[in-house]
């Protein structure tokens, strides 16, 4: 991938920073289809009190709405869509992306605690899983240092919305 193709990952850092300011784990995510952003999401676990509200899940929902509004076949769209996220998607999100048949995942740093693209399990490219969907092409370690830096800030600053802070990613 050329440097221009990595622009969206730069934008996810800005979204992640906003999440951090809102007391969420700093993760931002973009879904790009043929050069167009069709889904955006930042971590919203604390504000929804739902531990599954990861940036990827929110971005997916926006993209599904986009498909619906434009009356497009979602399977066809996702098979040509790339996801950009500053941290490796977790096992849950990797499972979700697999179910949707997404083409490619470009991410920043590894997710040592929950990663589903190799860190804990490799749901993204496990031939056996995913309802017969093709494996996801993963591009790891893009701007990894910046991602780690941002996460460190979260751990350092702690989470104002959670009196008993647990990092839910």
């Amino acid at each position: 991938m050329g440097p221009k193709a990595l622009y969206p990952l730069g934008w996810t850092f800005r979204m992640a920073t906003t999440a951090l300011q809102q007391g969420e784990v700093p993760v931002g995510c973009l879904l790009v289809h043929k050069g167009e952003i069709i889904g955006r999401g930042k971590n919203g676990v604390n504000c929804s009190k739902n531990a599954t509200r990861h940036a990827e899940m929110l971005a997916i929902e926006e993209a599904l709405d986009w498909c619906k509004n434009d009356n497009l076949d979602k399977d066809a769209v996702f098979s040509e869509t790339d996801l950009y996220v500053n941290v490796e998607p977790c096992v849950m999100c990797a499972g979700a992306l697999r179910l949707l048949g997404i083409r490619r995942v470009v991410y920043g740093c590894q997710n040592e605690r929950f990663g589903g693209c190799g860190s804990i399990l490799n749901v993204a490219s496990d031939q056996r899983s995913g309802d017969g969907q093709p494996i996801i092409q993963c591009v790891p370690g893009v701007f990894a240092d910046t991602s780690v830096q941002l996460l460190k800030e979260f751990y350092k600053g702690q989470n104002p919305n959670a009196p008993n802070p647990k990092i839910k990613r």
């Binding site: 009190k49 739902n50 849950m92 499972g95």
Partner: protein, 381 residues
């Protein structure tokens, strides 16, 4: 062992797999008076650090009396890679070692790991004596006595609720998969729903994902606009908020809650209308309690029952990897499911509930009303 209709634990295979063996060098003790000296000196020369669960000496009954065998060392404790054929080769670099009392060199198989279950322990003793600390809970899980008869009835009744909601889903044109999340201490149903992946525009709205969002809704959160789905239920957040604060508002709680609950028990699938919830909140706000204090209580309620901590899930079909990991994120305590699924992640494809590296593990039981749950699935496809 396990009788019919008893929930089957989905255990880490370290508890169910056969024991593995490794080879060690050993010898018969021909002069029993030398035994304690040999144990002491061999323990210093060749400590069994990687096999600390294995006893140094094995005593076996023979026709001609008791026979003792002692472990000399493991092959990797010797510098020479080539296999030893006699006792002198073992001690060739230790000329001072007193070999008296030791018979011919033999190779013995010993258990590689400490047995974790009684069955593994019995198997291990056939080879060499080992230490064993019985985990009582694990033993009860394995021999099918973990749940009392009453508890099995309770489990089946919650699965029946999951089956009803699954059938309701089928009637609404959705997939017949039902999920119920329960507080086992209060016996309250917190949320129940069916799978809407096929009837909504979001293919990720599996029964478990929906149920988790309804639990969030019952705690004053929630993200999906699904509360008007026919048949869905979630416990009103206001009851919790009213019960929790001490003395002054507890009275109110007792007046308000039974009414709210009875309205849900009639049909078992009535939902709390948002209007009603708002009304209860307004009532509460009009109490004498200062507003800021009230707010604090609310926050306490929400954090103490945050997500699915301490809660149980009953689901008719084994959850997929996405849903299983969502349960990890939500800190569920226990999962009961009916029928397994080839892509399931709680025993079939993966074992997310005891996946190494994850910070939360939970108990899983399968085979709860399995026949009824299987019929649901074959009914749809």
């Amino acid at each position: 062992m396990q009788g019919k209709n008893i929930p089957v634990p989905v255990l880490n295979d370290v508890f169910t797999k056969p024991i593995s063996l490794v080879t060690v060098y050993s010898a018969e003790i021909t002069d029993k008076k030398e035994t304690s000296r040999l144990i002491k000196q061999l323990g210093e020369l060749f400590p069994l650090t990687s096999l600390s669960h294995v006893k140094r000496v094995k005593s076996s009954e023979k026709i001609e009396g008791k026979q003792l065998q002692i472990i000399l060392c493991t092959p990797d404790q010797l510098e020479n890679d080539a296999p030893c054929t006699n006792i002198d080769e073992i001690f060739c670099t230790l000329p001072d070692f007193n070999k008296s009392g030791l018979g011919k060199l033999t190779c013995s198989k010993v258990p590689e790991y400490q047995p974790k279950t009684r069955a593994q322990f019995i198997e291990a003793q056939k080879y060499w004596p080992t230490a064993f600390h019985e985990d009582k809970e694990l033993s009860r899980l394995l021999d099918g006595t973990f749940f009392s008869k009453t508890e099995v009835e309770r489990i089946n009744s919650y699965m029946n609720t999951a089956l009803s909601i699954a059938r309701r889903g089928g009637k609404e044109g959705a997939l017949s998969i039902g999920a119920v999340i329960v507080n086992p201490d209060s016996r309250d149903i917190i949320a129940s729903c069916y799978d809407i992946r096929q009837v909504s525009s979001n293919p990720l709205r599996h029964a478990v994902m929906v149920c988790i969002d309804l639990v969030a809704r019952s705690q004053g959160g929630g993200a999906w606009n699904i509360h008007n789905t026919p048949g869905f239920y979630w416990k009103s957040p206001t009851c919790e908020a009213l019960i929790k604060p001490d003395s002054s508002s507890r009275e109110t709680a007792h007046h308000e809650c039974p009414e709210a609950e009875s309205s849900t028990n009639e049909t078992g699938n009535t939902r709390h209308s948002p209007q009603k919830s708002t009304a209860l909140v307004d009532d509460a706000d009009q109490s004498n309690e200062p507003k800021n204090l009230k707010r604090k209580h609310n926050d306490e309620v929400q954090t103490s029952s945050y997500l699915c901590t301490g809660l149980e899930l009953y689901v008719t079909q084994e959850p997929c990897v996405m849903c299983s990991m969502a349960l990890v994120h939500s800190r569920i305590q226990r999962v009961f499911y009916g029928s397994p699924h080839p892509d399931g992640a709680l025993g079939s494809r993966y074992n997310i509930h005891y996946q190494p590296g994850l910070n939360h593990h939970f108990q899983v039981f399968k085979g709860v009303l399995e026949e009824e749950c299987k019929q649901l699935v074959t009914g749809v496809t």
